[in-house]
Every structure is written in C-alpha cells, then in structure tokens.
C-alpha cells in the first residue's frame, strides 16, 4: 500500500532563504500526523510544495503514490488543503462557493455531500449567506468545508485553529477526528502543542527547513520530556548533588525539578528539606509536548 504522503529529498530556496533543506518523510494512510516547528521552519512551504502551490528545487513529493508534478491531477484529487490564511471569495454564498469548488474537482450535483459537510460543521443555517457575512470562526469552518468537497483521502490542515474560540475548536477537532476514524489521513500543523499531543499519533518537527525529530507522540514524550515538580520556596536554596542534577530551571525562590517516577518525589522533597528549603507552594506536571518541542529546538 502506498503511503498517503511521501516526501523525498525536497529542497526549496527563496532567494537567500533556504526554506526546505532536504526533507524526507512518509505519512501512512489513516494516520493523524503532526507537523510542528517554529515560524519560518518550512511547514507551510512543505505543504505548498505538496499542494502544487510551490515547486521544489529538487526532490519528489507524492500523494497516495501520485507525483505532485508529473501526475498533478491525480495527486490534487487526493488532497484537500485548508490554507492558513482566512481567505474567501466575496462574490459568492457558502453554497455557491462549495458548488464551484466541487466543479473545479470535476464533480457535478454534489449537494448531498455539501449538505452533510455543512451539517457536520454547523454551517447549514449559513448556506445561503455571503462569505463576507460570516464570523471568523465560520469562515474558518467554511475553509474546511471547501477542502472536503471532493472527499479527498488526505487532508492537510495548516494551523486551522488559529484565532478560533475554544468551543469552535472542540467542534472542529471532533469532526476532524471523525474524518480520521473514517479512514482519512490527516496532516496537521499547529502552534497549539497540546492539540498536537492529544490528536496526533506521530509528529515531525521542522527547524530551518530540516526534519529534526520524527517519531510517535508517545516516544517523543518518553524520550524528551519528564514529569515536573514546580516549587515555590520561602527563600532560595542551593541544592546539593545528586538533587541539583534534577533542576530544570531556577528563578530566585521558584524551582522546577524533573523526575521520571512518582517514587522520586519523596526523595526530592527530603533532599530539599535537608538543604533547608521551606516549601510554600507545589504543583506536579506531566510530560508534555511543549517540553519536547523546546528541548528538541534547543538541541538543534
């Protein structure tokens, strides 16, 4: 079975900026895949190359086994892209826009599917409204609807929840999860790392146009993140070894310690008391993607 996405040796330069510096990755069919990285890491350029909006200088990209340059029609039929920018055509209503988008993909009489998408995205009541009249969150959902009109097996969402309120975000993820359960491959870029952690089975991290980490979410958390113990002390103390090796950060009387097992907490607190530390506040934290992200970005 072909992978949903195959990227091999892709480079792309914009004048002096090396946007992609040799990217290789594969996304299997049915995966929920995260593409993370700081601004300017190359995420959107990679998506643009995949969607035919940009042309790579070298390397190949395939969607469902179809080369995006040589066999662009089949590749684009297999791909639905939700762009990062909140763009829309002000001349048309939501339904007109979805009918037109269906036609671009060679589909006529698509109203049954359009109605289903509108229902799932809670846009049925706005089908006849001009795109200009929609709120930001509705426009974002209309963009998702547009990407789905041709029932693509692979869906790429480029920061789909930027500027979307919490309730809408939950609704959107519920729908995207359902699409994934129905067999669609989902590729997500987001700056909300907790979203990536809870949704994505595998994650690639990009920095300066290179893949600097690629693994399952669980493995990344295990390898690069620890449980944390956040303490506020009455006064700053100096922890002796071996406890000092557990310090992740220290700012005055605020101390962040890392540990692997809950059994370690007793030893850490005992060591702190022995060093004369008096605890005024304490919080436990689980390993999270933010630690992984910061750790990997600092390493590279």
């Amino acid at each position: 079975m072909n992978p949903a996405i195959r990227v091999a040796g892709v480079t792309k330069r914009f004048r002096s900026l090396q946007a992609l510096a040799g990217v290789d990755l594969e996304v299997a069919q049915g995966e929920f895949f995260g593409l993370l990285g700081p601004n300017g890491a190359g995420k959107t350029t990679l998506i643009s190359c995949l969607a035919g909006l940009a042309r790579p200088d070298s390397g190949t990209l395939e969607v469902m086994g179809r080369d995006v340059v040589r066999d662009y029609r089949a590749a684009r039929m297999a791909l639905g892209v939700v762009p990062q920018e909140l763009v829309f055509d002000p001349f048309f209503s939501v339904r007109e826009m979805l009918r037109i988008q269906s036609g671009y993909f060679g589909i006529r009489n698509n109203d049954d599917w359009i109605d289903e998408i509108l229902h799932n995205l809670d846009l049925t009541g706005k089908a006849g409204a001009n795109m200009r009249m929609l709120s930001g969150g509705m426009k974002r959902r209309a963009l998702v609807a547009q990407a789905l009109v041709h029932r693509p097996p692979v869906i790429v969402l480029d920061e789909p929840t930027a500027g979307v309120d919490v309730e809408l975000r939950h609704g959107l993820w519920q729908f995207i999860r359902k699409l994934n359960q129905d067999g669609h491959t989902i590729v997500l870029t987001t700056h909300y790392l907790e979203e990536a952690e809870s949704l994505c089975g595998r994650i690639a991290m990009l920095k300066a146009g290179r893949v600097v980490a690629l693994d399952t979410t669980a493995n990344l958390l295990q390898r690069f993140a620890t449980h944390t113990l956040k303490l506020r002390l009455a006064a700053p103390v100096s922890l002796p070894p071996p406890f000092s090796a557990r310090i992740l950060s220290q700012e005055g009387a605020e101390l962040l310690l890392g540990f692997d097992h809950y059994d370690d907490v007793g030893h850490l607190l005992a060591g702190l008391r022995a060093a004369g530390g008096e605890i005024t506040d304490m919080a436990l934290g689980k390993p999270d993607m933010e630690q992984v992200f910061v750790g990997i970005m600092n390493q590279n």
Partner: protein
C-alpha cells in the same frame, strides 16, 4: 473539462453579479461619448461617403467597449483573487494552465460581448446602421476580445497592487484604444500619424470591425485580421508560457 467549465462559469457569474459596475456602467460611458461627440461633430465630419459621423462612431464605440471590458475582466478578477488570497481555490484543484487560460480569456470575451451588445442596442435609435459583413463583426469581436483578455491575464498576474494595474490600464490600454480611430478615420490624420497608427494593433481591430458594418475601411479587413491574429497568437503564447512556469502564481 468540468474544472474548466466551472472556472468559466464562475468568472461569468462574478461579473454578472456586479452587472451595474461591469456591464451597465461601460454602456452608459459609451453612450455619453456617442451623445457628446455625435452632437458636436455630426454634420461637420463625414469620414466615409454616405456614412454619417454618428453612424461611423457607433461601431468604434462598440469595439472600444468590447476591448476595454475584456481587459478589465481578466485583469481585475486575477488581481483581486491574488490580493485577497482566494486564488488558491483555483490553484489547488486539478485544473491545467491551458484550462485556466481558456476560462479567463473566454469569460473576458463574453463580458466584452455583453457590454458591446449593450452599447449597440442603446445606440440604435441614434444612428442608421447597416450590417454589411456580419462575419467580420464576429471575427474581430472574438479575436480582439481574446487579445485583450490575454493582455488582462498578463496584467493581472504581473501586477502586485491595484496601482500597477491602473498604470497598465491608463498608460497602455486607454491611449491605444483612444488613438485607434474610434473617433476618426486615420485618413484625416497627417501622414506621420497615419504611419504611427499602423503600429497600433487596436487600430486594426476597430477598422476591421467597422468594415463589418459599412463595407468600407481604412485598410483591407484581410490585412487587419492578419495583424490582429498574429498579435493574438504571440500574446497567447507569452501568456501560456507565464502560466506554465507559474509566474507569480506558483512560488
């Protein structure tokens, strides 16, 4: 093919939805030209024997409206889509660059024809028009509209802001149309300017189109159709090359 048809339909729907601006306004402008120039010059100027000045003016105004609106359609649609960012909706689907080109150019011709027919209909009460050779009228409308539609695609893709497009329109399209013999026969010009007019492809479009109405023209319609066709083919090749390379559309 469905993608092409939908893009063509969308481009037509786009201008039709704002018909006051895209069809009725140019018709009104042309009729104002007709009323003012016709009133001032009727009886003073007779470009062709047996043809009144107002009758002479009507085909020129019709063709000028066709050309200007064909250019306006593709250029304004593309620059709006680029600036608002919704051009991605046309670039993401499996539409080839040839289909893209054909849809924008045909929609431009259709808008040009809609405006031209409007000017013609409104002008009929003001001038007795004959239709000596309707085939020439059709041929120059289609090729002239396609030429300007192509030029509009180039301008719309090249321009990064409305200001640049306005410069293209005001410093190139407008002078070339106004100085193409819409309001006069080039035989009324000094020899030097008659020569210069022969470097203006718009002159051949207007002159050939007018031949279709009166059966007389400043140059042979065969020469005009040859010049206009060669110009269109050259422009079409340039435009298709730009689209094939993804110039300013695909990074």
């Amino acid at each position: 093919m469905e993608g092409f048809k939908t893009l063509l339909y969308k481009e037509c729907l786009r201008f039709w939805k704002v018909g006051f601006q895209t069809v009725l306004s140019p018709v009104l402008t042309a009729v104002l030209y007709l009323l003012i120039f016709g009133h001032v010059l009727e009886g003073h100027v007779q470009p062709y024997p047996g043809v009144s000045y107002t009758a002479f003016l009507v085909p020129g105004l019709v063709m000028m409206t066709v050309l200007q609106n064909a250019f306006a359609n593709s250029s304004s649609s593309l620059i709006q889509s680029k600036i608002t960012g919704n051009i991605v909706f046309v670039l993401l689907p499996p539409i080839s660059y040839r289909e893209f080109y054909a849809a924008y150019v045909i929609a431009s011709v259709l808008r040009g024809v809609a405006c031209g027919v409007g000017v013609l209909l409104v002008s009929l009460p003001f001038a007795a028009l004959s239709l000596a050779e309707p085939g020439w009228v059709m041929a120059f409308t289609l090729i002239g509209g396609a030429f300007l539609g192509s030029l509009g695609v180039i301008a719309g893709i090249w321009a990064d802001k409305f200001d640049q497009l306005a410069a293209f329109q005001n410093f190139l399209i407008m002078p070339l149309t106004m100085l193409s013999g819409v309001f006069y026969s080039i035989h009324s010009l000094p020899a030097f300017w008659q020569g210069v007019s022969h470097f203006n492809p718009f002159f051949f479009m207007i002159d050939g189109f007018r031949y279709g109405f009166f059966g007389v023209s400043d140059v042979s319609p065969w020469v005009s159709i040859g010049v206009v066709s060669v110009c269109f083919v050259v422009l079409a090749v340039i435009t298709l090359q730009m689209l094939a390379r993804g110039y300013k559309l695909r990074a």
